[in-house]
Symmetry: D2
């Protein structure tokens, strides 16, 4: 048996907790250091999942007994922490986005390209077993050449009001995951046409942001991709995929906790409410994301389930910027991801 | 174009109305005579669907301008009316059952066997498009040799209290349809094991009858058939089939009026309530039953959709009697349908 | 009972045959005159469904014994035939589109507005029982205010090569039905953003047309509507609706001939292939469209199921023109349907 | 954090491996001793999952550093090993059945009843999340008083030919799981009516055994339960539940690995093949069974998910014996589980 990979975790918020628990549960990983600028947060996490606590992220990254880093701190810290990992030659899994500002991303792009240690982006949905199996079957040619991909993506409810002005807007904050999903099927997107909508949330509108959007991407091979977003969904987290080609269609619907269905006097074959939000819906995806990162760190063959990298994180931001421009100017925006 | 078949309808109750409307709507049939012992009932029907009214069933059967008869009068009249049709050489479609008393059925069995004019039994479910397609695919060998058939059959609610003592009991009144469905797959049933239950209706129990039952049939080829009956069902008429063989399984679930499905905060992918009872569920089956009878009357090829005949009606009654015996004596009953 | 409405049918092609059969089958309608410029076509139709044949459309429209007209002749004849019906004061059901050229439509717009006799457009999908029930439930407020509508609409295969240059293009020929479906939910569309695609058919591309398209409409109330079109679909006619609002989602999937599902060694719960094309998928819709037209002709209350009129036909064409412009110029096009 | 429960595992066959892996993966359990009469088997298991190897089961049970025992050795050893655990006062999770011979089970019944340490039976399906949720909703009164339960249970293929004569027959070997599932809903079964079938496997028939069966149980409250068994199933492990009461129906269908569905030219909405056999289908159930046993060992509150005990193991065997008698004698058999 290989030695477990020793992890430093930076950031102990909601996503940080998910990573801490997954590192703890994995037989191939161990939580060595937990960092939070509030030391108490780090200590609560080590009490539950092991490791030592610190408030100094650079110390965590550079520690001799750390093999890999997970960055789950607030977005504005990502670029510097990734840069520190690059400098230290330590593999890093960084939560999305790298930054909301493309200029800041591009400032470390060359270093990321030249790096010998992997930089992995936390686009966890790539590892969802349902979506990954659909993608595998598309890649295997089951429906022929992909012509159309429909991505439905609705959050159960809007983010807290005070988060809205910091979010970067619906495209950079929310659609960015869907833009990466689109690129996991069609990496080379060449045109973006987005329609932004203000349907129900006055607070979001008040910040000049949209609470819903419809985005059409076109790939270099003429593929079309439609992303339908909304910031609310009464029936829970709405995460669906539909791939269409000359040979037919492949679909993944929403996930219920169990398969129990009921029939009563007023309804037939009723399923359970869908899994509520991303922590429930993508639980397996977070576990598999970590497992793939561990395999990457160990230098194992990850062809079957490759982790998205720095360029994927950058491309999603370029597309989100193009969405914003398209929605505001009412025109199709050409993009070049190279 | 052929001339429409001229019909006499005897009996203008609920089922009589269905037949009257279907004869009226068919381009191949016309309602010539309507008979009810209460002339006013006949007249109401002719006002809506055409034809002349009478209270004399024999006159209707023997009328010169009548090509075929539908018997939809109360059960105790069926044997005599079928016998009259046999004597007159007029094709007859008789609602099930022929009679509740096997001795009375057997009294005309030889005449029915020797008849030159068809006697068709109103087992309409044989014509249900869903069940018929399932049966066609079984017959085509899609799942190999049939090993098991599961029939679920629940009425939405018990019959009126005053009908219960006249009904002949759950097996002769209700399960008889399912016994015929069983025979449409496995004509030669050799053993019957039935369990009668008293689960919810004190009135039915008070008459010594059952309000639910589980019946296991075994065919001459070793096939098993399970019929699950209940006299109530909160979610509407429950009519399902499942056929199993070495090659797989074929199923038909319940039917909703439309395909609309809803997802809300408390439920996902909810279908409409199922069609409520037999008039809604088997609407197409009644139409197709009449069309097959018209084709039979005209001497057309009905191989693809043959009408059940007198012997089918008798066999269902023999099986219902065997169910009753099995349930009351707690033992498997051997049957011989030849 | 009312007298049956006496129909003149103009045009005996594929759709003409559907209307002829439905008029024949309806107890409330009778086929009085059938017109085709090729008299033999008209005669074949009358032989099957009754009525007298003619090659003179104006004679058919103006006949004393004709109460209503169905126009199912080639598109270029529609405007003149509708105009003749308006002049004669005869109710007319005209197949879509009124014309491919908005100027020709507008030439009779004032007369249509001033008309005392109804002009009904053949947007049969409004009468599909599944779509109509979904619309009824949206109108009843079940999901709250409509925020998003997704229309998926794919033909099983492209039209014949020689029809392509005459078709008016994918938006005017195919999407026009979906644009009307959109308007049956959101009548007042204010902005159109369309992306045209050339994915698989060199012949269509050779004529400068698109073989697939993604169209986003925005309504006056901020509603978004996405129409996904393709000129081919391996699995049959793909016709789906999904309506979303703050209270949840309502969906209608594709329709199979029966509900039989199979499970085998390689697949589970497999449904039948979907109904192949519009004649199969919208069979009930054509019947109900005719029934609603008959009710309109008779002056009955049609509030529950109103027929689309001249303005609906015009609006769909305005939207199709806007789609074409948007797709060609890569920009959102504002529209005014008033 | 509590100390992990230290386990001794006896038996390292297929099920033993499942338990070894689950003990290893659980943060609350550790594999301390692994016993197999073939020491090499034990050593292979400890190499993968930890612990020390032995070929002496009594030494394993009586070891000072063992808190709990899992018995996964061949059936004939179960009674003696459970007895040894009772003598040692060590909690034991014993795979089903306790024994194939009721007399041998009853020989230790009094000791089991008097025991202070828990004896848990390996009816893992009680912990399946789908079945458990259905049972929870039934218990919560969602469909009112349970009237009918339908259990469908088919193995993908018959057991190896040389196992058949040792198996105890289809009722004691296979249906015993379903009989326990029945009792998890209706503990007090009073009558058994079973029909045994020989449909496809000459080897099984040659040993006087059945390859399929239909069993009807009646509960003390008049509930009916139908168990449909077959020793083969082309489409994988068929494990379904349907509960019916006056308020409606609750169902659990078969489980697919992912939710991907496909539509092609010959089929619509096709699911993946079902999970193949019990190791795949009941993976979560085995994990949750172990977790519940750990909680029992620790004396935690297990009201929400109680483990089945010795009496449950005995009751299932009594029912299996009654099935055998009923099927062979063609009569209903009364049972008394007290």
């Amino acid at each position: 048996m290989s030695q477990p990979v020793r992890f430093a975790l930076i950031g102990t918020g909601r996503i940080g907790q998910v990573h801490a628990a997954n590192v703890h549960a994995s037989p191939d990983a161990v939580l060595q250091v937990v960092c939070d600028t509030l030391l108490a947060g780090a200590e609560r996490t080590t009490a539950a999942f092991g490791g030592r606590a610190t408030s100094d992220p650079l110390a965590a990254i550079r520690a001799d007994d750390v093999d890999a880093v997970v960055v789950a701190s607030p977005t504005p810290t990502h670029v510097d922490l990734v840069a520190a990992c690059l400098d230290a030659g330590v593999p890093v899994l960084c939560e999305k986005p790298i930054d909301l500002d493309l200029a800041r991303v591009d400032a470390i792009r060359d270093r990321a390209r030249a790096a010998t240690s992997p930089v992995v982006l936390g686009f966890n949905r790539r590892f969802d077993p349902h979506f990954a199996e659909l993608r595998r079957r598309v890649a295997a040619g089951e429906i022929g050449r992909l012509e159309h991909l429909a991505i439905t993506s609705r959050d159960p409810e809007p983010p807290p009001a005070d988060y809205v002005p910091l979010s970067g807007g619906i495209f950079r904050d929310m659609a960015i995951h869907d833009l990466d999903t689109a690129r996991s099927f069609v990496p080379d997107v060449v045109a973006v046409t987005a329609v932004g909508l203000r349907q129900f949330d006055a607070g979001i509108a008040g910040h000049g942001d949209f609470d819903a959007a419809v985005t059409t991407l076109v790939g270099a091979g003429g593929e079309s991709i439609v992303i339908t977003n909304s910031r609310h969904s009464a029936y829970g987290y709405d995460q669906r995929l539909e791939a269409f080609g000359p040979g037919g269609m492949l679909e993944v619907g929403n996930v219920t906790p169990t398969l129990v269905r009921s029939s009563t006097g007023s309804a037939s074959s009723t399923g359970e409410p869908y899994r509520r939000f991303f922590l429930e819906r993508y639980r397996e995806a977070y576990e598999l994301e970590l497992a793939a990162f561990v395999a990457t760190v160990r230098g194992e063959d990850t062809t079957a389930s490759p982790s998205p990298g720095f360029e994927d994180g950058r491309a999603a931001l370029v597309l989100a910027d193009a969405c914003e421009t398209s929605a505001r100017e009412g025109r199709t925006v050409a993009v070049d991801l190279s």
